[in-house]
Amino acid sequence: MHKVKVLFFATLRDYVGSKSLEIEIPFGMTVGGLTDLLVATYPLLEKVKNSMMVAINREYAANEQVIPEGAEIAFFPPVSGG
């Protein structure tokens, strides 16, 4: 197991009720695996599961990407700045 930092923004922060979590995950866990774990813990995420974006260490990540040790993983809806 290793510890990672998970951040939530906008709608997702509202659904999780927290801006930032520190959690322990197994070595080799993918973005998709972590997503499933979070959806199981925070069921409100189910409805945005397919639309949310994931970044690892501040770069857009793919579902099959393995989460590196000590990573910062951010979950957020499609961006709407400007």
Binding site: V79, S80, G81
Partner: protein, 152 residues
Amino acid sequence: MDSPTIIFLTESELDLDALLGRITLPTTGAAAIFTGMVRGQTSRGDAHETAYLDYEAYQPMAETKMRQVADEIRQKWPTIAGIAIVQRIGRLYPGTPTTLIACTSAHRNTGVFEAARYGIDRLKEIVPVWKKEIGPQGEEWVEGHYRPKPGE
């Protein structure tokens, strides 16, 4: 000649003149400046009124992605000299500039208009900033439509 690139997020009022000054060089003869504003009344599509917008950002990633937008502009339009990409965050009321994309060049026909247009379009695609809209009908997070590819 160095080419200034100004990138930041701020909770303070945008000083458009000062920002333009920072990307103006002795060789500059043209600047294209785009600023997005908080629109109080929307008539296109779902007509409604907006009291204010609350902006939030994933700040370190937003800065990285704004710098990436500037790099993409320089690759596409090597004649662009100065670039400013600024996003204001926090609570912003109608009539307020929320973002500034400005590009300078020696002459107006060297891509400055296109570069600034590209800059705002890309900012709205890949820079992690969100806004919550508050109006008479309640409050709602605005969601974009673009899905960046891994590594984009």
